[in-house]
């Protein structure tokens, strides 16, 4: 049952990422790659989540997403932004923003603080992922001669 749910979620994030690729006007021929990156990122996040904090799993998923984005960018000779921006979307803490706003409104400020801090931690995890992978030398991504 769990594995069915995981596969189902992979396709949901695949299609969701492609929808965002369209909103950012990514050229049509790259839709498939964007979807694959978004799906893999979410899969990685979901598979690691039971064994660690959301910080760790977001960080590792972000590393995977950015690594794949750079790989495809080099292979397809196009800017890395094209893959990265849509691919990172499933990891963006939209839920955190909502729950923080919700608890502030319902005056449960301790929960709001905890949720807000959690959101910030996830954002920092993405930042660290971006910083780390962009330090990798370019030749790691090029085809072996």
């Amino acid at each position: 049952m769990l594995s069915v749910r995981i596969i189902f979620e992979f396709f949901a994030s695949y299609i969701g990422t492609i929808a965002f690729a369209l909103l950012f006007q990514v050229p049509k021929k790259y839709y498939g790659y964007c979807g694959l990156i978004g799906g893999c990122g979410w899969l990685c996040y979901k598979l690691i989540l039971p064994y660690g904090a959301s910080f760790t799993s977001t960080f590792l998923a972000a590393v995977l997403v950015i690594f794949l984005s750079r790989l495809f960018a080099v292979r397809k000779r196009c800017p890395v932004t094209v893959f990265l921006i849509a691919g990172i979307f499933p990891l963006v803490p939209g839920a955190g923003i909502y729950w923080t706003a919700y608890y502030v409104v319902t005056n449960e400020l301790d929960k709001a603080g905890a949720r807000g801090f959690e959101t910030l931690k996830i954002a920092v995890a993405i930042v660290m992922g971006i910083l780390l992978v962009f330090e990798f030398p370019q030749k790691w991504f090029q085809k072996e001669a």
Binding site: A19, L23, Q25, T81, L84, I88, Y98
Partner: protein, 260 residues
């Protein structure tokens, strides 16, 4: 003749920079592309200084005629198709495939490239909302409701607002609209998890481009541009939260507390 040619090349380089910056490319890429194009046409003295909202470009030394250009470029929506096209063109220019005049003509064409039809964008916003609602734990009915709310959001942004409202106002009202739609659908019995429905349908507003670019600019040590883009991202996030919060507050006062 020589100076005319230089002028044309610098025009092309500056135009390429304009398009890239307006379409949501990183500062590093904008500077690099301007330098690449200028060097490809044999201009040694070109110097570009790029901020998130403007490009300053000068050239000129003992041998080359002076050239200066300052362009203000407002923050706008991401157009990754244009970024890709300019990137491709700058590679071709480096390989000597275009004269400066041809390159400029091609850049003007890229600048006029049509965006995806609005109908598709509305649909994409709905599909994106639905999918993300599923990812955050909603069921199929919630997904349908988020699809409706997400579609409504882009109908509102593309047909009603059309850039006439400020960014702050359109994000607050967008957040309000989505929350209101979700609450309404929830009360009509469409959808079981109000939270997940709202989360899914605010995702199209979330400033992913500004946030990602801000981090990358800061990583490239373009601190000013990075800070401006980060401020943009934080402000938009805060506005969405405000929009959601305002409607939720009203909802709680009328319906009297959490019902889910």
């Amino acid at each position: 003749m020589e100076t005319d040619y230089n002028r044309e090349a610098l025009d092309a380089a500056a135009l390429a920079g304009d398009i890239l910056l307006a379409s949501g490319a990183e500062i590093f890429r904008v500077e690099e592309t301007i330098d690449r194009i200028a060097h490809a046409y044999g201009i040694e003295s070109c110097d570009a200084f790029v901020l998130s909202s403007g490009i300053f470009l000068t050239a000129g030394n003992e041998k080359e005629k002076e050239f200066a250009r300052v362009r203000h470029i407002p923050l706008s929506a991401a157009r990754l198709d244009k970024v890709t096209a300019v990137n491709q063109l700058s590679r071709e220019i480096e390989n000597g495939m275009h004269t400066a005049a041809q390159a400029k003509e091609r850049l003007l064409e890229i600048q006029q490239m049509p965006s995806a039809p609005r109908f598709y964008q509305v649909l994409a916003s709905g599909v994106g909302s639905g999918c993300f609602c599923l990812l955050f734990g909603g069921d199929m009915v919630d997904c349908g409701a988020a699809f409706l709310a997400g579609t409504l959001l882009y109908l509102y942004l593309l047909y009603l607002v059309r850039g006439r409202l400020s960014k702050i106002a359109s994000n607050i009202t967008g957040g309000m609209l989505v929350t209101f739609a979700a609450v309404l659908l929830y009360h009509l019995g469409i959808g079981h998890h109000l939270g997940e429905m709202i989360i899914g349908s605010i995702i199209p507003l979330v400033p992913g481009v500004a946030f990602t670019n801000a981090i990358r600019d800061i990583a490239d040590q373009d601190y000013i541009a990075g800070a401006v883009r980060m401020l943009d991202a934080l402000l938009v996030t805060f506005c969405i939260a405000m929009g959601v919060g305002i409607v939720m507050m009203g909802y709680h006062n009328i319906a009297g507390g959490a019902v889910f």
